[in-house]
């Protein structure tokens, strides 16, 4: 069975075996957990106490700096959308979500799907900061045979729930997860992050309807509303703005926030703000390229790679922000 596959693969890529149905996902991950334990100095801290707003800001800032460096080193990435989503990821992993790097498959974990999978690098860095993967592994991003490829692979990287990359897949999968929790009366929550351009995919609206019909108040959609898509502004392409009334008319509870205000994000995602019987959409107003002035709100930086000079500039700005707690204007 699959013998032609296995014959080939075992010679070349032992990790690819995980793709085969003969093996449980968890079996593949156990290996990684071992590695993680050695490298992971965050686990104990983060899992034990609530972080302060200042700490959260510093983590977001550190993720941004690591991201900038990693994009430069790899010569690849989607830096604009990474910078815009990092505060949201920080809030989720370091304040909102109940996850445990020691038990990444704990059935009662909260689930996050980064549906805008092209910004995987930001997710990898968040996962490494949170202790799911070794921090030094970030340097393998985009390298041949690395498990940290351009889009996230749930069979290789602990903490990732489903494979994304094609836009418009995450919300349907999130609906399924939230349904599963409802079926077993479990308290865990499901979070999905989409891009705003991504909301042009019809598959998302199928899921929007279903989530409302199924009254999935354990599902939260966060739209990273940076007003830019790949080649142009949403307004020039397919203008979904304003987003809030569209979700609202489909029966969702909608909240609009500043997607770079960590306090606002944490509040909007806290379980207390859930409206019973309704899925929640957080329209997070963000800036693509946030934190690095020359990238901010500039469509050219969707997946452009900065040169050494630009990295230096960006790093200086991010370091200044780390000191002051506020981004440069």
């Amino acid at each position: 069975m699959f013998c032609y596959d296995i014959k080939y693969m075992s010679q070349l890529y032992s990790f690819v075996k995980q793709q085969l149905a003969y093996q449980r996902r968890s079996a593949g991950l156990e290996l990684d957990i071992g590695t993680i334990m050695q490298n992971n100095y965050w686990v104990n801290i983060y899992s034990k106490r609530k972080m302060s707003l200042k700490e959260l800001k510093l983590i977001a800032n550190r993720i941004r700096r690591r991201d900038l460096r990693a994009v430069f080193e790899a010569g690849a990435g989607h830096i604009g959308g990474e910078m815009s989503v990092i505060d949201i990821l920080t809030a989720l992993y370091f304040d909102v979500m109940n996850v445990d790097p020691d038990a990444p498959l704990n059935p009662n974990r909260d689930r996050l799907i980064l549906s805008k999978g092209h910004t995987a690098l930001a997710l990898y860095i968040a996962l490494s900061e949170r202790g799911f993967i070794p921090k030094d592994e970030i340097s393998t991003y985009f390298k041949p045979r690395s498990r940290l490829s351009g889009h996230p692979d749930c069979n290789k990287v602990p903490g990732i729930e489903t494979n994304t990359g094609p836009l418009g897949h995450g919300l349907p999968v999130g609906v399924g997860m939230a349904m599963a929790a409802k079926l077993s009366n479990a308290a865990w929550r499901t979070f999905v992050i989409t891009g705003d351009g991504e909301m042009q995919e019809g598959s998302n609206w199928e899921a929007v309807m279903a989530a409302a019909q199924f009254r999935l108040d354990n599902l939260t959609l966060i739209i990273d509303h940076n007003r830019l898509q790949q080649g142009a502004r949403l307004a020039e392409t397919n203008n979904l703005a304003p987003l809030a009334p569209k979700l609202g008319v489909f029966g969702w509870a909608v909240e609009e926030i500043d997607g770079h205000d960590l306090k606002a994000i944490c509040e909007a995602l806290s379980p207390e703000t859930v409206a019973s019987g309704r899925p929640k959409c957080v329209v997070a107003h963000t800036n693509k390229g946030r934190g690095i002035s020359y990238m901010t709100d500039n469509v050219a930086w969707h997946h452009k790679v900065p040169n050494a000079k630009q990295v230096e500039l960006g790093m200086a700005e991010l370091e200044a922000e780390a000191r002051t707690g506020e981004p440069d204007p």
Binding site: C154, V173, S203
Partner: protein, 319 residues
């Protein structure tokens, strides 16, 4: 031992599928069904009555259907995703690739009314490309049972198997072929009849036609082996190579286009293991005209007589 067809009694395999599903669901509370306004066509009324909360109907939205299936599996349930095969595969193919196969979600995709079961509804409703579409995707098991008994066996197997499955089912009535109690093994062909002159490889609704053809051929003194190749991916390379070596010629029959389906999979193995002449029967690369599945199968040369004729023609090419 040759399996004989009993053309007297024809069964709609959906009944075997849903009764097996219900029997399993009574034992295994993790089993859920996901459908897309396809309760009736998937014969899920009974399931819905017994476990309304475990029957998740997403409406007419096949992309969401498959995505929801993946999410349900992640959340610890065992989802059977049921919809007309043409829409399930054609409309949600990228979801099948990314959310199910590549993510290795333990989801059972059940393509109902596959092939030309919706013959008169026209080519938009013919699912005669699904073998080619799904078997191109890594990590998918592709299974098309031949009768009521194998449908039950394959459905039970699918629930036990830990990985993505595409079960290709039909509503077209077929007689019993396999013995009661038959157990399904992935990637393993069943020899329904042995023979030395050539081999007929078939699956799904055309298998009994192949057996009939072999009986007709036997009456003419030609001994055809018949392989029921329910698994299209991973294909049973050994059985095909053996058939090629032992019998020297192969006819393939499928309710599917001849471009890239079962015949294509067989051809791929034959040329790499033991090159012998093969004749592929199926939908000949056109959008089929209006007509019932059985009418169209006959038209496309897959009546028992048509298959036998192709076999005799092929024998002339045998080295």
């Amino acid at each position: 031992m040759n399996f004989r067809t009993n053309a007297g009694e024809l069964h709609d395999c959906r009944d075997a599928f849903t009764s097996t599903l219900e029997a399993m669901a009574a034992q295994n509370t993790n089993i859920v069904v996901v459908c897309s306004d396809s309760v009736g066509s998937s014969k899920l009324g009974g399931f819905r009555e017994r476990w309304p909360e475990r029957l998740i109907n997403v409406g007419i939205a096949e992309q969401n259907l498959v995505g929801v299936g993946a999410g349900l599996a992640n959340g610890g349930t065992l989802p059977f995703v049921c919809a007309a095969s043409c829409f399930l595969t054609g409309r949600a193919l990228e979801q099948i690739k990314a959310d199910i196969a590549y993510s290795n979600a333990n989801v059972k995709l059940c393509g109902i009314s596959s092939g030309m079961a919706y013959g008169e509804l026209g080519p938009t409703h013919h699912s005669t490309e699904d073998f080619a579409w799904i078997r191109a995707i890594p990590n998918m098991a592709v299974v098309a049972p031949a009768d009521r008994i194998e449908t039950t066996a394959a459905t039970e197997w699918a629930a036990a198997y830990d990985g993505p499955v595409f079960l290709r089912l039909s509503r077209v009535g077929v007689p019993d072929l396999l013995p009661e109690g038959h157990r399904f093994e992935l990637g393993k062909a069943n020899m329904l009849r042995d023979g030395t002159d050539l081999t007929i490889i078939a699956n799904g609704t055309v298998t009994h036609r192949a057996v009939h053809a072999a009986e007709d051929l036997a009456a003419k003194g030609i001994e055809a082996r018949v392989l029921n190749m329910a698994t299209v991916r991973p294909i049973d390379e050994d059985a095909i190579a053996e058939a090629a070596c032992d019998t020297g010629a192969i006819v393939t029959c499928e309710e599917h286009t001849i471009h890239g389906g079962l015949g294509g999979a067989v051809a791929e193995v034959v040329v790499e293991s033991a090159p012998v002449p093969v004749k592929r029967l199926g939908v000949p690369g056109i959008f089929a005209p209006t007509g019932s599945a059985n009418f169209l199968l006959d038209e496309f040369g897959m009546s028992p007589a048509g298959i036998a004729e192709s076999a005799i023609e092929l024998l002339k090419k045998k080295a």
